[in-house]
Amino acid sequence: MDDKAAHVSLRGITKIFPAVGNHAAVHALGPLDLDIVKGEFFSVVGPSGCGKSTLLDLLAGLSSATDGTGKFNGTPLRGVVPEGIGVVFQQDASFAWLTVRDNVAFGLRRRGKDAAEIRRRVDHALAFMGLAGFAEAYPAQLSGGMRQRVCIARTLVLEPELLLLDEPFGSLDQQTRLLMGDELLRIWRETGATVVLITHSLDEAAMLSDRIGVMSARPGRFIDIVETEWTRERDSRIVSDARFGAITGRLWTQLREESLRALGHSQTISQGQP
């Protein structure tokens, strides 16, 4: 915090969804503190329903915290997405009525960039995401994984300084995930963006991140922050590094108990039978 200013900082962030009808209020998140420095690759893992996506919405400025303060570049986050934040959502958000090219160009056009500049950046992003041959296709003609790549490209062309990803590779097979992970690392290195990745894949988190925040079952809090100490020039081949196994092992040890709790099992299962 002293030598490097936090790009994103959360202090005592809490999110409680108020009671609606006969549903009781849900304490989804926090209170939690977090500082992410500029250019860092930070991942969040945690059991299902622990508030990972809620945390991402708060970081993006898509929703407001019930309590606590969040800051991006020193400016408070309050329910409005600030300039410079790009989000890739878990669900397919590709626009069905636009071609792949128009999907990717969408944000740039709304920002009023000139046509040549848009074309250059879109072509680059399409090639980057392996979509060059599908520029004129419609999302309905693509696989789920390719549609997700369209969404990633659409966000990346805007060159966000903070890139938030909510399980972006959830619909991809393992091999493609690893390759997309390499792509993501390359983008991260080349753009110098800060990346926050929400994932349920411990391997993905261990391979990609500088630091990994491990969340508890709901209400989500950080129970551990794991530093990977990878160099910036890493790629998916580190999965064969001995330290990789140590990291995923540590993550799983932390998460096993929480995952059981999230599933509603009692402690007895984890203790096992003699």
Partner: protein, 245 residues
Amino acid sequence: MKSRALDTTIMVVVLLALWQGLSALVGENIFSSPPATILRAVDLLGSRTFWGHAASTGVAFGLACTIAITIGVIGGLWLGLRRFAGDVADPILGTLYSIPKITLYPIILLMFGLGLSAKVAFGVIHGIFPIAIFTMNALRTIAPVYTKTARMLRLSPVATIRTILVPAALPEILTGVRIGFAVTLLGTLIAELFASTSGIGFALIRAADEHNVVDILALTMLLFIFAATVNALLHHVERRVQRHG
């Protein structure tokens, strides 16, 4: 495409055969045969009186459609965007859609009198509800991730509606318009049947008064061809939009 054309041909042939059979069964003076009807229809298409009636219906129907689509779509968009207003309007619209509009006809006559405005009004009250309902539901069922994306891209509310919500809802809005079109035509013709001095509906009821069976069937057939053609056309547009959506 080939099998579709074949299916259509088979359907038309079967219908004509049934028609011919029925005509032979009950007699030409009660139910005219296809050849006699088609000849009379060709006759009508060459007559000035028919085109006078067609123009009268056309103007009323055109106005009714324009009003029903404009108000239906704008109203549906508004209700779709305002969750609370939509929740309140939903059952009301459903009820208004399902009540037989003919029960409102005396009121329409009192309000608008005989003539063009009553026909238009009666057409509009038929068409406006399905269009509004389909539009409202189209907006209410748009994936929340689209609105999140709009906020992430920092779009203004107007830009969000114009560039994301309307295109996303368009296939369903078009379905509403297609159904609205059909029932607006229905409403306009019903109005003409009961109290008017011109139009296809008026020509139909007069032919009925005169027991002019061949005229009734010829007019009905022409109406059917018109409605089916426009419906097929709208269906085509709808499918083109849906192929992307």
